[in-house]
Subunit: 223 residues, 2 copies
Amino acid sequence: MADNITPNIQDYLKTIYGLTSNGEEASTTALAARLGIAPASVTGMLQKLASLTPPLVIYRKHQGAALTPEGEKAALEVIRRHRLLEAWLVESLGYSWDAVHEEACKLEHVISEEFETRIAAALGHPVRDPHGDPIPSADLVMPSTNDIPLTSLREGEKAVVRRVGCKDAPLLRHLEGLGLVPGAGVTALAHSPFDGNLTLQVAGRPPAVVGPAICSQIFIERL
Amino acid sequence: MADNITPNIQDYLKTIYGLTSNGEEASTTALAARLGIAPASVTGMLQKLASLTPPLVIYRKHQGAALTPEGEKAALEVIRRHRLLEAWLVESLGYSWDAVHEEACKLEHVISEEFETRIAAALGHPVRDPHGDPIPSADLVMPSTNDIPLTSLREGEKAVVRRVGCKDAPLLRHLEGLGLVPGAGVTALAHSPFDGNLTLQVAGRPPAVVGPAICSQIFIERL
DNA sequence: AAAATAATTTAGGCATACCTAAATTATTAT
DNA sequence: ATAATAATTTAGGTATGCCTAAATTATTTT
């Protein structure tokens, strides 16, 4: 029935999940932007995904798309594979965290269930990937987190970096240089309410001033 | 120029290489049979491969196909990746040798050069895959071998199994059960000229009678 | 409310890569 | 040499998934 889920469809489902789970609308335009294709192409695909049996998305003209339970299941399966692959590329092959996303994007569509099972076991069934993104369990439940944006940290408050929500390789390398990686302890030394700049003390490093463009990509847990 | 080499084209090139390097003709029918598609589809693709710039195959109507230097290079690249992947699935993820072919067939089309480099290094730049197939070097030279068919072994002769030239999972499991895997020492106890059966002593095992259908798939080096 | 702008959809096309059926070419047997 | 068979090619068609241009719908501004 629902085994006609092509790599392309997987990418759509993953992207819809990424938008809606983030509170954003999975609109034609937003999907087109994230997928790097024309809006018209998205319209065509959403119509198709909604007319499959079972439907993978709920779609009404000019109203954007939402995943059906079947669509969400398929999305979580791909997301699980992607994040396990990222973790495993780092742990097992020594990849740097800025290079794993691209590789995982291709591998996620071709690995077998056995492959998934083996790397999950080899990694000890991790709950987060190298960027701190939660990894859905084998029965496709997304772990809940208490991550809050670094932008909400104020003078004197201490926290631990939990997640870095960006895929851009140069930015990831920059963050690594600052020590702003999952697990790092940070203290807010100062906060400028005008430009949103945060002066951060990353454990074991000199203080650094970080702008809101970066802070909004970093998620923490307060201590 | 020649970066429009799709996964499909890679499969054609790999298959043509497999036939011609084996002394067989890369005929339309043979390719169709190996690729599991209709002969007419092969004709269309061969015409296309021959008309690319640079051409990947030499093709003349009713004459089958042969790889150009560019085509052979692309074929060796895919074969290298396939065999490295097989080795690495066994070594690093604990796959059994009968399961790796299928997985490698999908992965070979998507891994990056970095991935290839990393697994080659992690494996110590192996020269054979788990079935004993030679792995082309990083500069795409196929290692030469002295492998001869097990069918040529005669009473009293000793040899080492070097290669098992079949992909069929049930047969591979059967051979593993007999100990007929690369590296195994064998002695021919008897040979029947009528049915081609060979009675083999595999080191550390009871003697076994093996028919020509199996023997022709196994390649050895005489001691 | 009307006009302007933004978002979305429809329509018509293209490329890849497969298919079947019919036509052609090559090979083998009589 | 002719007929039968086998191999191959041509022709026309399908499905996926993208594109652009034009049309439509929704939203915002005046």
